[in-house]
Amino acid sequence: MGNILEAKNVTKRFGGLVAVNAVDFNIPEKSIVSIIGPNGAGKTTFFNCITGFGRPDEGEILFEGNPIQRLRPDQITRLGISRTYQNIRLFADMTALENILVGEHAFLHSSWISSVLGLPGVLHEEKTALAEAQRLLDFIGLRGKGDMLARNLPYGAQRRLEIARALATRPKLLLLDEPSAGMNPRESEDLTEFIHRLRDELGITILLIEHHMRVVMGISEVVTVLDYGEKIAEGTPAEIQSDPRVIEAYLGRGAATEGMATAHERFTGSKKSD
């Protein structure tokens, strides 16, 4: 299996601050990969570089072998990269179904003139699009809620709707920015299972940013750790958990010498319930 995404030497600066510093990063096809790191480590900035929100100042990002770092967000989406947001960004005053339909936008082709004229091709396209949206709604377990405004949905449903909207763009690579934020342990377990389904049933490669260690360690095949914009470690969850540099980044310099067992416990969150 090849790599679906290859980032080479990606650097992003904001004025004097180097938010992402010469990061090399590969995502194997049909894998689940996580990026972790303390607050301000440059995780979301790196996401933005991939999705075209902020162009990297240096380096190259290849998606399926083609460079994408100069493309606009909508062009990147059309190639097959989609994302969700750390703080939910649904179209709050549109219905659940309309939210998903916007996601399908890139794959509909009717021009405004043919829409005004109501040509049969348009009607057929709309019907298919609606059926697809309905299917996605069923997939995330919101059957029958299609006419509700996104703002009126419960929190968990909003998270799932955001994923459904991202799925509507038919991504090959899905970027999830802290999907379990604000979820209780049960909900995050459901989420873990849901992400597995995305990969196994739909064959989508998943890249996660996550703070929730239980989710990260339970789900990821590869974990990459960023700190101050630099990649400090990469490996399987087990490797990462025992890496002294990672523990130091998370818990401070003293922690590495404090005794691995305690630090490990705190780090993996096995005592805490969050």
Partner: protein, 578 residues
């Protein structure tokens, strides 16, 4: 403690009422409105406005009392209303008293002897004692109104508002009805006086509406149920029937009403066209455009230059050919505006577009371009639309003769305007339901996310500007033939602001809202000539009240309605679960 509290509250309400009344007097409303009757030879509009303020003060004081002390305090409510009304009356009396002693005219132009004369019922200084009395009685009436059960209060309010409405527009109805023959003319003279309603008319309208409203209270559920029980075919027929009736009225109206009302409706329709256009850029795509009049001007000037036989006419092509060209030119102008402001958002966009509107107006009226656009003289001699063939033209300065029906009168243009508005409303509706409409709404909600979902921002935003501009251009094109001449001075900023206001009042993003907004903000003020002096005062007041009381607009878009519907549904299901 509590008792003092409610009394003090009533006094405060009364003082506020007094301040409003003095304001109304000092801006000169009372005097001007007194020339016009609400009920003929009995109550003038000026008196009515003052009385309404007093009754309103009583009502509000009574409601506040209820809020403070709880329900079922009849005596306290009435006392509150009485005191508020009394205080209002006292303030007015004090105002008149001071007015006689001190000359306020140096500062307040309208604080004139005729005003005091009016307020003392023509009897002079000694006659200010009735004012507190009237205040007290009015306040009591207002307070009593709150005590009427809600079931009757609604119909009473509706009947009062309807009667007042009929009185305001009585001149209009009278003219329309007197133009008819036979019974209708007699009915008009029975119901309407020279200005205002007759006593008989007042009673008929008031009780007529009251009875209908009461009956509707009892029966509306039944009627609605019966309609919804109809098979789909039947409902469709009902709707088609309704549509035909409206169409029949729309077609027949100008021949019955005469040119003045037709003119008002055409003006309204032109604003509807602009409103539908701005509704696309602002209502759907959320791009605030304060220079919208520019596209209207461009449409008007294009038709003017292409069809005029005046000194600046470039061509003499028929109206029907000039209109599509005008729409296309306006569309291109939309793109020209859109390109530089693509990346500009929010407040900055409003200012940038404001500049665009002013640039177009100034250029069109400038001496610099006077040899193309006529400068301050404007473009005159614009051809009227012609159904039939035009005589072939020989020279540019010779008007072409229409061999057929020339739609030269206001009534003729009326049909063109109505047909265009219907067509554009249909186009706007189709656009909103389309893929493009969804992309616009997504941009309105969150531009970045929309882009990340594959919406091409450049293309989609440009289309919003272009299609919005096209609609406004059509409005301008019709305006040019209606007036027959165009001047840059009629393309003021206030037109753009009117269009924004009518969209906001009607309901952002709602197509029927645009129509309702245009009727409320353009049509009604046009018909009320007496009020024209205070047009923008009342206008501003209405806008403030609207934003406080009904920010979603008079006819909100379906999304807002759906939301309400769902909130209800959730409540029901939550209750049933308990």
């Amino acid at each position: 403690m509590k008792k003092e509290n409610f009394l003090w509250n009533a006094v405060k309400t009364g003082l506020l009422g007094g301040a409003i009344i003095i304001f109304i007097c000092l801006v000169g409303m009372t005097e001007i409105f007194s020339k016009r009757y609400v009920i003929e030879k009995f109550v003038t509009l000026g008196q009515f406005v003052l009385l309404t303020t007093i009754v309103g003060a009583g009502f509000i004081a009574s409601r506040r009392t209820s809020n403070l002390l709880g329900e079922n305090r009849t005596v306290n409510n009435l006392t509150g209303g009485l005191i508020a009304g009394l205080v209002t009356g006292l303030v007015l009396a004090l105002f008149v008293f001071i007015g006689y002693k001190v000359n306020l005219r140096a500062v307040f132009l309208n604080a004139s002897p005729p005003l005091y004369n009016l307020l003392t019922f023509g009897k002079g200084q000694g006659n200010i004692w009735p004012l507190p009395l009237i205040g007290a009685v009015g306040g009591l009436i207002g307070a009593a109104f709150l005590l009427i059960p809600a079931m009757y209060r609604g119909p009473l309010t509706r009947a009062s508002i309807f009667t007042f409405f009929m009185a305001l527009f009585s001149g209009l109805f009278r003219v329309v009805m007197i133009n008819q023959k036979g019974g209708v003319e007699k009915a008009a003279k029975y119901l309407f006086g020279q200005t205002g309603l007759t006593w008989e008319g007042t009673l008929i309208f008031f009780f007529g509406v009251l009875i209908i409203a009461l009956l509707w209270n009892y029966r509306n559920k039944e009627v609605r149920a019966r309609i919804s029980r109809l098979p789909k075919r039947g409902q469709l027929t009902l709707r088609i029937l309704l549509f035909i009736v409206i169409l029949y009225i729309a077609i027949g109206l100008p021949t019955v009403s005469g040119p003045f009302i037709a003119q008002v409706i055409v003006t309204m329709t032109l604003f509807i066209l602009m409103g539908l256009g701005l509704n696309i850029t602002l209502g759907f795509a959320g791009l605030l455009d304060l220079g919208f009049v520019a596209f209207y001007a461009i449409g008007a000037y294009t038709v003017g230059l292409l069809t005029s036989y005046g000194p600046f006419g470039l061509q003499h092509i028929p109206f029907w050919l000039a209109v599509p060209i005008a729409v296309l030119v306006a569309m291109m102008a939309g793109a020209i505006l859109g390109l530089p402001v693509l990346g500009v958002r929010g407040d900055y966009l409003a200012i940038a577009t404001l500049g665009f509107g002013e640039i177009v107006r100034l250029l069109a009226g400038s001496d610099f371009l006077a040899k193309y656009f006529g400068g301050p003289q404007g473009v005159i001699g614009i051809q009227k639309p012609c159904i039939g063939t035009l005589a072939p033209f020989v020279r540019v300065d010779v008007p072409r003769v229409c061999n057929g029906i020339e739609l030269g009168t206001v009534q003729g243009i009326y049909y063109i305007a109505i047909a265009s508005a219907l067509l554009i409303a249909f186009v706007a509706w189709r656009l909103r339901e389309s893929r493009l409409g969804r992309a616009w709404m997504a941009i309105r909600e969150d531009e970045d996310v929309a882009e990340a979902l594959g919406v091409n921002l450049i293309q989609t935003k440009l289309l919003a500007y272009m299609l919005g501009a096209a609609f406004a251009g059509l409005g301008g094109a019709i305006f040019a033939t209606l007036i027959g001449s165009i001047f840059a001075t009629s393309m003021q900023l206030i037109v753009s602001i009117n269009v924004v206001a009518l969209i906001v009042v009607g309901g952002m993003g709602s197509i029927p809202g645009v129509i309702v907004g245009a009727i409320a903000l353009i049509g009604l003020p046009e018909l009320l000539r007496e009020v024209s002096e205070f047009r923008y005062l009342i206008y501003g007041l209405v806008l403030i009240i609207m934003m406080l009381a009904k920010p979603e607009g008079l006819w909100p878009s379906t999304a807002a309605k759906r939301e309400l519907h769902h909130a209800d549904a959730e409540n029901v299901s939550a209750e049933s679960m308990i």
